[in-house]
């Protein structure tokens, strides 16, 4: 019961402070941005700016070819902004790209030079061979440059045939793909949900140290671990609330919320215990800020691997947020991989308990520091 009373007291204190409302405000802000600013699926169509430097007959044939691939079979006359001037162009929209056909060579060079867009000129030489002249920006990868070099060596039909003959099989089909917007959610859950506890619990501890109330608590029959656990409880509670504020309107009832709550609670417990341990070494938040900052930055690193799967060094898997991200993504995908989620949760629970026990010992020894 004492733990419950301490939790209620902590909840009252939190609700009368700024941190609680900042966390909720940020959750609503994220939700607002997700709903009204982030599209469900990002526009992945690339834009090509070309000029057809060829006789009219050849040009008409080429445009006819493009028109065939156009979704609505119509070319649209549009204005393209080049160096603050609006130039006429024809726009063709296919399934995977937007093709702007410009009216002269100068526009192609200007759009590359002034607007920093990759463009090209397609021409026919004296021997009736099609030639491609690309205007790149310089930052393109060597792989892309090499691809452009070989792309036109083989006939397009040959390339298509080779690609069609590639056998691609899915090992598992028991999942739904996340939309681009949903794919960002694991990152939000990790940072606004779980990791926020690390910083906020440290702030709560330093506030108590400043007011001296830890000393007053220490001369009561209640054990120190209950004092610490009541704070962990409040940070976990607020992280669950702020996570659900973002998650429910976007995901609806698609994810398994029981698994999600389990993972939110154990990851919140882990990061709060880490925050407690860090705070136990310092007298005030100014002294602890450097370490808190470094830890937060380290925890952000797996985010890069999450969004750029080709960068996934093995050492990144030592950082706990790597498994937090994977765990939340698995839940949101909804493939019911209970064993993976419970294994990850168990890992965070055990590590959290170890950190909490060490913190408890430190607070028992160093109450006056």
């Amino acid at each position: 019961m004492k733990l419950f009373y301490s939790f209620i007291k902590e909840l009252k204190l939190a609700s009368r402070g700024y941190y609680f409302y900042i966390e909720l405000f940020v959750a609503f802000l994220i939700l607002f941005v997700f709903l009204f600013a982030v599209p469900a699926t990002f526009d992945s169509k690339s834009s090509e700016y070309i000029y057809l430097d060829m006789p009219k007959e050849a040009k008409d044939m080429y445009l006819e070819e493009i028109l065939y691939k156009d979704i609505d079979k119509k070319a649209e006359v549009v204005k393209v902004k080049i160096d603050n001037e609006k130039k006429d162009a024809l726009l063709y929209i296919t399934e995977d790209k937007k093709i702007y056909v410009l009216n002269n060579k100068e526009d192609v060079i200007d759009i590359a030079d002034k607007e920093r867009k990759t463009s090209g000129i397609i021409k026919i030489d004296d021997e009736n061979n099609v030639k491609y002249e690309y205007y790149l920006q310089g930052y393109e990868s060597q792989r892309l440059k090499n691809l452009l070099k070989i792309l036109h060596v083989e006939e397009a039909d040959t390339l298509k045939e080779v690609m069609d003959n590639q056998d691609v099989r899915s090992i598992s089909t028991n999942y739904e793909l996340l939309s681009d917007r949903e794919n960002i959610l694991p990152s939000v859950l990790v940072f606004n949900g779980s990791l926020m506890g690390l910083f906020i619990i440290a702030a709560y501890i330093f506030l108590d140290k400043k007011e001296g109330v830890i000393k007053a608590y220490a001369i009561t029959p209640s054990p120190v671990w209950q004092y610490l656990m009541s704070k962990v409880g409040v940070t976990s509670f607020t992280s669950i609330i702020s996570s659900l504020i973002v998650l429910i309107p976007i995901m609806g009832f698609k994810p398994d919320y029981i698994l999600l709550l389990v993972l939110l609670i154990v990851t919140g417990f882990f990061s709060s215990s880490l925050g407690l341990l860090i705070a136990s070494f310092y007298k005030n938040i100014m002294q602890a800020f450097g370490v808190l900052y470094v830890v937060m930055m380290l925890m952000i690193l797996p985010n890069i691997a999450y969004f750029i799967p080709s960068w996934d060094p093995s050492w990144i898997k030592i950082i706990p947020t790597y498994f937090m991200l994977e765990g939340f993504k698995t839940i949101l995908i909804g493939n019911n991989d209970f064993i993976y989620i419970l294994s990850v949760s168990g890992g965070f629970l055990i590590t959290g308990i170890i950190l909490f026990v060490i913190s408890n010992e430190r607070y028992k020894r160093n109450l006056l520091e």
Binding site: Y5, K12, L13, G17, E211, G212, K215, A216, I219
Partner: protein, 284 residues
């Protein structure tokens, strides 16, 4: 109630002790004053006795519990009022006390009754953060009584309070002592110690220099003098005369019979004067 033997403490865990070979006993039902200037080791000793600091060397028994192997149950028997107020500023006065009531395993006092006792009646629903320094101090003092302690640690209980409130606090201490509560009073204020304590210990540089009752100390170290102020031929004259020397006794009789007496006081030594005489140090 308290037994301390050969207590040492060093904050740096070296031989530079802030408390050195301190030994004393506090009997049940007495008010024991622990007096000394700032940095003398008063609070360090008190923090060891209340478990806020780990005991390093020596022995201490508090309310029947060995401090070296302290049980949380001990805190049901003790109360502590801190020199620096330490209450939750975002909770009201009543919420502060109500929360602490729930942390004890023994019957506790009603929060409103305690607030009334320390003169905070009608302020129960105001957040402690909006209190003045003196009001916070009284709230901290009230909290120390919440579990009806048998042993009461008071650290500078009247510091920063105006005289009427300080008088109220002193009368509460006296009343609780009459009810049988043992009081361990830490202070550098010799007047409050003189008024309240059955015995006092003088501590300087971490060492106890002397332990005795204020009355015995005055008898032992005080000069037996009378200061008399009288009017002689229109002039006001002040003289200090011994109550022991025959010559001074006769002079005093002469003054009383011949002149108009304006004031006359026996001049006992104050605890502060005795402290300076014994330790060679002031109390600041």
């Amino acid at each position: 109630m308290i037994s301390v033997k050969n207590l040492y403490h060093s904050y740096n865990n070296d031989k530079n002790y802030q408390v050195k070979n301190v030994s004393f006993e506090v009997n049940e039902g007495e008010i024991f004053g622990f007096l000394g200037p700032s940095g003398a080791g008063k609070s360090t000793t008190q923090n060891i006795l209340t478990g806020l600091l780990r005991i390093q060397k020596g022995e201490a028994i508090v309310a029947g519990y060995n401090v070296r192997d302290m049980s949380k149950e001990m805190f049901n028997k003790i109360g502590m009022s801190f020199e620096q107020s330490n209450v939750y500023s975002k909770l009201t006065a009543k919420e502060n006390l109500d929360f602490y009531r729930k942390l004890f395993d023994v019957p506790t006092r009603d929060s409103i009754e305690l607030l009334k006792l320390v003169g905070l009646e009608g302020k129960e629903n105001i957040k402690a953060g909006n209190f003045s320094k003196g009001m916070k101090h009284r709230l901290t003092f009230a909290r120390s009584m919440i579990n009806n302690p048998k042993l009461w640690f008071l650290d500078e209980p009247t510091t920063g309070l105006d005289p009427s409130i300080a008088a109220n606090i002193k009368s509460i201490i006296k009343e609780k002592n009459r009810e049988g509560v043992t009081v361990f009073l830490t202070t550098h204020n010799m007047f409050i110690a003189d008024e309240l304590c059955d015995r006092v210990a003088f501590i300087v540089d971490g060492e106890i220099k002397l332990i005795d009752s204020p009355k015995n100390l005055k008898l032992q170290y005080g000069d037996k003098l009378v200061e008399v102020e009288y009017v002689k031929e229109g002039e006001i004259i002040t003289e200090k005369l011994s109550t022991v020397l025959e010559k001074d006794k006769k002079s005093l009789q002469n003054i009383i019979s011949r002149y108009e007496i304006r004031t006359m006081h026996t001049k006992e030594a104050t605890l502060e004067e005795i402290f300076i005489k014994v330790t060679g140090r002031g109390l600041i």
